[in-house]
């Protein structure tokens, strides 16, 4: 009996000793480079503009929303903008779904499709495009965004937008903006003539209550050119606007 207990305690001690040893001699995990959060997918949606414009004639509610889901270098990007004239039962909207790939420090190349819809009374107009474009930060902190569009009928057009954030105080930010579009042929049913279609200049002043939540006021001036202008009664318009910039 005594012998047995001696033997058992010896075995016990041996196990203890071995387990102590294994604590030090344990194998390291295999090398893996998947230990951090540096390859995570993020989702981002921003309503850069969500505003009511006051101008001669119909007063539209206007939006410009975009966002992504993806990683640092590869993303699915969507963009939508449009306007609704509530008093006239008119809607004009545009949607883009793009694959976006980082091609330089500050720029992404984007390609995908665009879908346009114009709804006026009972009439419905829609068309699709193939899109190739770019988006990023140009020198001097200009946020730029440009696209080349080929419609299902082969019409070619392009658009370009640049904006800049000017901090007046830490929360009061001025945002000048320029937008323009060009068409390479007439598309009268959409109110488009060949050449430079229009130029839009805007200035918005937002107050960042939170970074993600900023009401703003501003002015917007738009002028249509060439054949496009001929299709409108008043080729230029000036509007006052108020809205909300939000993201999450």
């Amino acid at each position: 009996m005594r012998q047995l207990s001696k033997f058992l305690s010896a075995v016990f001690l041996m196990i203890l000793f071995m387990s102590n040893n294994t604590a030090v001699a344990q194998k390291a995990p295999e090398f893996s480079n998947d230990l951090l959060m540096d390859n995570k997918t993020y989702t981002y949606i921003i309503a850069d503009k969500l505003e009511y414009q006051s101008m001669p004639g119909p007063n539209p509610v206007m939006w410009e929303v975009q966002g992504y889901i993806g990683k640092d270098l590869h993303k699915f990007w969507f963009k939508s903008d449009g306007e609704i004239v509530t008093t006239h039962d008119e809607t004009e909207l545009e949607f883009q779904g793009l694959y976006s790939r980082a091609i330089s420090r500050y720029f992404d190349l984007q390609a995908g499709i665009r879908y346009d819809l114009i709804y006026e009374g009972n009439e419905n107009l829609s068309r699709g495009f193939a899109v190739i474009g770019f988006q990023g930060m140009a020198p001097y902190f200009f946020e730029v965004d440009g696209g080349l569009f080929i419609s299902e009928k082969g019409d070619i057009s392009a658009s370009f937008e640049a904006e800049y954030d000017l901090p007046i105080t830490q929360r009061l930010i001025g945002q000048p903006l320029i937008e323009t579009s060009v068409a390479f042929q007439d598309v009268p049913e959409y109110g488009i003539g060949s050449g430079i279609n229009d130029i839009e200049l805007g200035f918005r002043l937002r107050y960042e209550i939170e970074r993600e939540f900023a009401p703003y006021i501003g002015v917007n001036w738009e002028r249509k050119f060439g054949k496009t202008a001929d299709m409108y009664n008043d080729p230029s318009s000036l509007s006052l606007l108020g809205g909300l910039r939000m993201w999450f």
């Binding site: 390291a28 998947d34 951090l36 980082a102 091609i103 420090r105 001097y140 970074r211």
Partner: protein, 592 residues
Amino acid sequence: MNDDSNTISRRTFLRYTASMAAMAGLSTVLPTYAFANLEDRDILTPQGPDNVVDLTIGKMSKVIDGKEGEAIGINGTVPGPIIRLKEGEDVLLRVKNELDEETSIHWHGIILPFQMDGVPGVSFDGIAPDSTFEYRYPVKQNGTYWYHSHSGLQEQLGHYGPLIIDPAGEDPVEYDRDYPIVLSDWTFENPYRVLANLKKSEGYYNYQKRTLGEFFKDAKKKGMGNALKDYLSFGKMGMSATDLADTTGAMYTYLLNGRGPQSNWNALFKKGEKVRLRFINASAGSIFDVRIPGVKMTVVQADGQNIKPVPIDEFRIGIAETYDVIVEPDDNQAYTIFAESLDRSGYARGTLAPKEGMEAPVPELRPRPTRSMKDMGMDMDMGDMDMKMDSGHNHMNMDGGAMKMKMDNPKPPVKHGPDGHGIGAAAIAQNQFDRLHEPGIGLGNDGRDVLVYNDLKSLNPNIDERDAEREVELHLTGNMERYMWSFDGKQFHEVEGPIDFKHNERLRLTLVNDTMMEHPIHLHGMWMELENGNGQYNPRKHTLLVQPAQRISALITPRDKGRWAFHCHILYHMEMGMFRVVQVSDENGSIY
């Protein structure tokens, strides 16, 4: 099993003490040393024949300056308890995880078998919920260190504490009193949310950007032409002169021993006493500039290693660095221990006082500095400006009668090679500067004597006298706009394997900072002998605060085989990819 019952009783005990604290009207659960009377009994020392220290990681609520938040504490406190070990002993640190996620403790700056280093996925499997990990290692060094989680963003939630090792022989540093000063940053925001905000909106927490008003002020001061040139040269590169810190006082409350600036922490002294203050920067994202107005500090230790004493007025402490200073206040009055964040967006403070509850005037935050062309590594004739600044600095030293000799012989700038490091690097430092004699941005130009890396001279000579056989050069890179951080333009998920070090080789590690921000670079498991011109007396460091556009080097002898983490100690930079694994293996490729 035994362990479990212990833990339960300990937990009950903690709950009890917590409620007692609440009953006593204390606003917050703090480690005992956070209270004014710091006594030896409040310190965790190894118990029993096996030298056991028991630690329990768990969720807790923490009140910071009157507001309650969710924290991760160690034995129910934030920061964790002071662990005080003795050089030459074997210790057993049992860490129980009461969180519902994996955790870990990394013993920062401790030379130990790599399996005990505590980096999940690199040196061990991490500590699963409801389990206990036993860290066993021989304590082969002494000095001031700290410990913290290496899992996710737990460190931001309070998972850190001081670790002090008393020397086996006599301490060359004389002192009558001894206080650890743990500096850290606290946020009530979820740290994962913080990371997402930075990812989606660069400069999210920067409320100190250059404004239109500042431009006109600068134009008035420097002339319209010069101001415009300065603003435009930053703009041209898409860089911001106010990129001082990603995470700022806009989200942080800065803590000193777990207390916010309003809940003044007290350290007591009697006139004529030598007080040792062990500064530890346990922040997730904050670099501090520390001074005690009215008191000269003598730096005696850096990163746990004794150095030749350096009398100074102020020092910058990078994240994860430690500095021990001796102060001898002349008068029976209160003195403010003032730790300003580098970007001047806030401060931590405490009071050194002859009696409890005393306060001294709290200094104003200095104006926020701006980055220069030199920080961007641009090809500018900055030599002249440097010389002027330095000679002014020396002049002031002489005026103050300081006996200190500064080594102001910087190495000439080095040009960047052809590699642009790709999309992950928003810029490269075309000119890489020595900068060991520079105190860093926002310091050194107001007459105060500031510690610089050139001042650090080891008290004992380094053992390995060999010159480097091999050089490894790594560039610190980042793209603030995309919030990507990396080495050589590659995030950690993109690398193919570890960086290979050979066991016992003599290696020169050269770090080049291609970003315009400071990065505290930490190497686990071995010392970096900073090459600051002191030869065998080059200081041994575990963390190097690398200035923008700086080229810095250290000699290394990898004495312990294994896998070691190597990373920027800004928590968010590490998680975004500024991280590598260093593998130390013998000639057979074995790490055991």
